[in-house]
Symmetry: C2
């Protein structure tokens, strides 16, 4: 018998009507004879509302209590959806993370799933019930609730699919799949029928917001077949899997990330190990650095510049300023008016001319490239933020043949 895991996000369950719609999708799947495990997020703005309630009382609540508070959102969703299924005559049961036994580590607010107990869910599936599981939550070894951080419900779904060796893990959302680029920016954006885990990972980390990285990493690790599909229209979505059919384009998509900034340390002393010192300090402060460029030293001084998430800038500057004495730099400059545009595709670095095609498209559009960064399956360029949308369109059109 087939087993399908279906995950629905917050906007898909935001009110009674949407919940009934979701129950309809679940019921259709159940009626094909499949076993169904459903993972739900909190309704619409519930999480934000709860955070606001907390902040009204304590600007800086402990993460343990925050997780206790926020985990109620998903519990409400699963209970309501179970009621909607009952109404349709479909047997259903809602289960929280502690009822399932979703064992997580003790990192409150950003826990990792360690193990999922199978007994309770299996016994409910054996009784022909649709099992609705609260996403985004786990239980640590102290018996406390922990939440899984951003994209946590996607991670819950993939972890359940892995634990139960599901045939498919469907991520329902309000878009109908993964596109070659953001359809709001480029009219000619194409929906992909399929994409590899690695491509999806690169697209996600380069700014595409369809799936969260951790869920894709987990899917790749356990070989879980994923599908990104619309909860509002009944049509095929995008499959995410290990190997895809070769398509006529060498790239899967074009992504844009404007939430980055560049920090430059100007006038660093030109001594060995200074770069190591800078980045180990940032690492200790848990600040992720993306692209690094070290200028060629002129005389005794050099500059180091690197990009990082906009949200980490003030923390990074603080750490660097605190160590000004030992690092001995002249001054810091911060530029947050930059953007990163990336092309992602399984064979990019092994296919000659792909990177060149991108640079050419940008050159023709008169867009200046500040930095370049590549991986096995990605080429990223750093450009002025005001050029970002134009760059995405130019590159996308060059590869996917939109109008010039």
């Amino acid at each position: 018998m087939k087993l399908i895991v279906q995950k629905f996000g917050g906007s898909s369950v935001r009110d009674a009507q949407r919940i009934q719609n979701v129950a309809g999708i679940i019921a259709d799947t159940y009626r094909t004879g499949s076993n169904v495990i459903v993972v739900l997020s909190a309704q619409g703005d519930t999480t934000d509302d709860l955070i606001a309630k907390a902040k009204e009382i304590n600007e800086n609540p402990s993460k343990r209590e925050m997780d206790m508070l926020l985990s109620t959102g998903e519990q409400i969703s699963i209970a309501l959806c179970a009621m909607a299924l009952e109404k349709m005559g479909i047997p259903a049961v809602s289960l929280t993370a502690w009822q399932v036994g979703i064992q997580a580590n003790r990192t409150y607010s950003n826990a990792r799933i360690k193990k999922i107990d199978r007994e309770r869910i299996q016994s409910e599936l054996d009784r022909k019930k649709v099992v609705l599981v609260a996403g985004f939550q786990g239980v640590n070894r102290y018996g406390d609730v922990t939440t899984l951080g951003r994209g946590g419900s996607d991670t819950s779904a993939v972890a359940l699919a892995a634990a139960f060796n599901a045939d498919l893990c469907q991520i329902y959302t309000d878009v109908d799949g993964v596109y070659t680029t953001d359809p709001r920016i480029v009219q000619g954006a194409l929906k992909l029928n399929e994409i590899t885990y690695d491509e999806m990972l690169e697209l996600a980390s380069q700014g595409a917001q369809v799936l969260h990285n951790r869920s894709v990493e987990l899917a790749k690790k356990y070989g879980v077949n994923m599908e990104v599909v619309s909860s509002l229209e009944r049509k095929p979505g995008t499959k995410v899997k290990e190997v895809c059919k070769m398509e006529k384009n060498n790239i899967a998509g074009v992504a844009k990330d404007t939430s980055i900034a560049r920090i430059a340390l100007v006038g660093l002393e030109h001594s060995p190990g200074v770069a190591f010192k800078v980045f180990s300090l940032l690492g200790q402060a848990r600040i992720n650095v993306d692209t690094i460029i070290q200028s060629i030293g002129r005389e005794e001084q050099k500059d180091i510049s690197f990009t990082l998430s906009e949200t980490s800038v003030s923390e990074a500057v603080k750490v660097l300023e605190e160590n000004r004495e030992s690092l001995r730099f002249d001054h810091i400059t911060v530029d947050d008016k930059i953007a990163k545009v990336s092309i992602v595709g399984a064979g990019i670095m092994t296919t000659p001319g792909v990177a060149a095609k991108m640079f050419e498209a940008l050159y023709d559009a008169n867009i200046n490239i500040q930095m370049i960064n590549t991986s096995e399956i990605r080429v990223s360029v750093l450009i002025d933020q005001e050029d970002a949308n134009r760059a995405v369109k130019a590159v996308h059109d060059r590869f996917f043949g939109g109008e010039e």
Copy 2:
């Protein structure tokens, strides 16, 4: 070291300001050096809002899913209150019923507590934490959440006080204690310093809404000292305990219940066992009957009338009509324009003249008594509903000496 259990109801935690107020009361108690276990209800209208959400999706949701849904309300309260205490520098931890191990039976929506595990709470108390427990909920042996029915959080508090042999169980509410009668009806109503469990039980079941019966029964069974106290004003409340000092009045209070109705079965066949048949049928349908009066039989026929809760009337009439054949009565009459006024006091039936004093007060006020019903510590009279407030005032004034 003293251990105090404090319970705060929904109106006491309805918004951020009230939660901060509650945290202040808890902090003051903690700072006296006591161990503190706190039980909280859901905030203000949360439970009603959740019920409305459910009904929008399914008019008749399963009780299991309803309990799953409603139990989130208390979880939100305890997390928020823990944050408020943290802000004040008081170490606190919130725990749900499953984290504590509040074992309940499997009656969803109206479960009974069977046993409370001590380990988790004790370990938190040992670490000098205020322990905040979600009221109104338990976990059954299947690992499912059950709720404890009306007054459930009071019951949670008393059960915890019993399990931990607490020195005191304080029930904080928006009134400042138990009164000799409803202060909204009678100006001269007096606050009692103390009241016995039995008196409190009778007052509660005769319409006083301060404490729910189950919590008082439990307190009596385990000898838990309770105190009803205001969460808005810092002043002594009413102690509820086994034996009270004799006060100058023989009664503890006057109660009124207008949510009752009288059903009469007219023209019943005068055969042995017919009354037994009527009341066993109602018992099987789980309908509680209060006062019963069987008229003296005239020739072959007699009437039976009894009072019951207004909410049970339609169900009772249905059961009786369905058995019209076997019961052989002529017709049914229903009167919901009645009220019950009761005096409650530990020594009522052993003190000559107390009941007579009540009847005399009613007679002087020209109020007609339809039925009388007594227990060891209570005298109740059935009267016209429109006379109810006048009757309460007349009786209260006679015993507690208000203006005539």
